[in-house]
Amino acid sequence: MMQARSGRVDKALVAAAGCIVALVVAGGLYDRNFLSPAYLLQQLQVAAFLGVVATGVMLVVVLGHIDLSIPWVVTIGGMMATAAAGRGGWASGLAIPFAVACGVGIGIGNGFGVAYLRVPSMIFTLATNAIAQGLMVIHTGGFAPEDRATPAMHFVAVERSVLGIPNAVVVWAVLGAAVVGVLRRTSFGRRIYAIGNSERAVYLSRGNVRHVVVACFAIAGGCSAFAGVLLAGYASKAYQAMGDPYLLPAIAAVVLGGTPILGGRGSYLGTIAGVILVTLLQSMLSIVQMSEAGRQVIYGAVIILMLLVYGRGAKVVT
């Protein structure tokens, strides 16, 4: 679907940004502390974890696929990093790259199943998620692993080196800038969008569909594992099911940011807005001491309402 690129405002981005402003203003009216820089920076730091996951999810969704292996790839990232840290010596220095490499490995497996075996991504990534879970259950022996985060992990996840900006946010910004560059300036990036619109067209124009799909799933796996590293650094430990709360919010953030779940379109700026929106929504609902039940209902209802405003599909007429 061609759209004029210039002079056209991204409706989803405007709506998401509008909702963010509305949330902050409403929060400020409820309690002045919501407007304090300390609170907002803290939200940005929490958003960075979700943002790193959502980065990979967005690439996969633009392709027209979905990655349901996020929960346990995040956990693998956290557990492998802390396991390497627990060994001490040179192994702890390699904790972060090792964990990310594990995630990339699972991502390549996902990509292979989707691109070469042609299994629908929804079911294949579901199976790899089960395998990742099985591997981690064996790794930990069913108990909480007694490993700790390395200083490097603590540094990226918790500390604030420049002007009080959390390092996690800086990392997210760098990652985001790289993805924007790839999506807009490289043929690889343009092919991701093209595949989301028509795999056949890309195949017929001599694009290697399979390589692009495998690469995107590999990046998504790496992003999820890296988010696990950040989480483990933040909490100073890795634990079972630490990735479970990230799957649905990440997908919701990508879709609220204007990337249709069927792929082919979407901007990274929208995804950023979606991530911040979801994080703020979760945080504010918990701060106003809404019960967990009410929080879930409002969370679901807000997603539906926002999508009804700008995420509706075309009417079938022909």
Binding site: L117, I251, A252, Q296
Partner: protein, 337 residues
């Protein structure tokens, strides 16, 4: 005149066509039969009514949720809220199914009505809201989970004992009643649905929504009914769960795992996630296959820690088996959407 007009060869052709169309369900049924035979021969207690009953109760729970998932999948959609409706029905049933037999009857009707309303809301959002089913049902699933938590902030409640014994026992000391409930649900709801206009419309929409629309197929009605029936089947499963556990719990993890297992059961049962093929019978066997894997790991005394990995590997292998069709593809363009 060709051989085609010859009745005998035409029957042969019909049979071949039928076999080709039913390959998925037949493979799932065969796989289940083999696995279950292995299970009862290896089980220390052998083929006793209680062994069958326990296995059936677990299998029927997943089968009902997976059949719920089948309705939207056939139309090319998906319902990620089936697990939440299942849990919501469980919480509601633990509160309202009690008292005199009339009250129990009303309570059961109320639980089923709750499931139908959840399904109807999904239908409205997907059909008239024109939202993508994956994301829309993800959001409604959060809402139903929230309502379940509101009904049962902490696990508890109970269900009428006589009703629970009736549904979880064995008829004539032999056939598990839960299996009869499943059979009745399939015969009374799925079979007539499959033969009705909306049922055929669902398959047409799954094959090509635009072609179905242009042929005057009632697209909106068929999709709406599919989500509605999904809610109904999930609620039946929730009712059965309450009979088995005698309590209600707003367990989001349980709901999530049932949602994901339901998708897996649908695929193992030979229904394409792209829609337009398969059906409840295949899904039923797909669910039984998935549940029997767990039982087999138990009787073969596989280390408890390795069981999740085994389950994952079996799931991965079984969903990858469909890739053998790629060997028959002669034009590479056909590989791509």
């Amino acid at each position: 005149m060709t051989g085609r007009s010859d009745p005998a060869s035409r029957r042969g052709e019909d049979l071949r066509y039928w076999l080709a169309a039913q390959r998925g369900p037949l493979i799932a049924a065969g796989l289940f039969a083999a696995m279950f035979a292995l299970f009862v021969t290896e089980h220390p207690a052998g083929l006793s009514a209680s062994v069958v009953n326990t296995a059936a109760n677990k299998g029927v729970l997943l089968a009902l949720v997976a059949i719920a998932q089948t309705f939207p999948v056939v139309t090319g959609g998906l319902d990620l809220s089936v697990g939440s409706v299942f849990v919501l029905a469980n919480c509601l049933a633990s509160a309202v199914v009690a008292g005199t037999s009339l009250q129990v009857g009303l309570g059961v009707a109320g639980v089923l009505a709750c499931g139908v309303s959840c399904g109807a809301l999904n239908g409205v959002v997907v059909v008239f809201g024109r939202l993508q089913p994956i994301i829309a049902t993800l959001a409604t699933g959060a809402i139903y989970g929230g309502v379940a938590l509101w009904l049962r902030p902490t696990p508890g409640g109970a269900i009428d004992e006589d009703f629970a014994d009736l549904l979880t026992g064995s008829a004539g000391e032999l056939v598990p009643v839960s299996l009869l409930v499943l059979a009745a649900a399939v015969l009374v709801i799925w079979v007539p649905y499959r033969r009705s206009a909306v049922g055929r419309a669902a398959y047409a929409i799954g094959s090509s929504e635009q072609a179905a629309y242009m042929s005057g197929v009632p697209v909106a009605r068929a999709k709406f009914v599919a989500y509605l029936l999904a809610g109904l089947f999930a609620a039946i499963a929730g009712l059965l769960l309450t009979c088995l556990t005698d309590s209600g719990e707003a367990n989001a993890v349980l709901g999530g795992s049932y949602t994901l297992s339901s998708v897996a059961a649908v695929v193992v049962g030979g229904t394409s996630l792209y829609g337009g093929s398969g059906g409840a019978i295949g899904t039923l066997f797909g669910a039984f296959v998935l549940r029997t894997i767990g039982d087999l790991l138990f009787v073969f005394d596989i280390d408890a820690l390795s069981q999740p990995l085994f389950l994952g590997v079996v799931l991965l292998v079984s969903v990858s088996l469909g890739s053998f069709r790629l060997l028959r593809v002669t034009r590479r363009l056909e590989l791509y959407r």
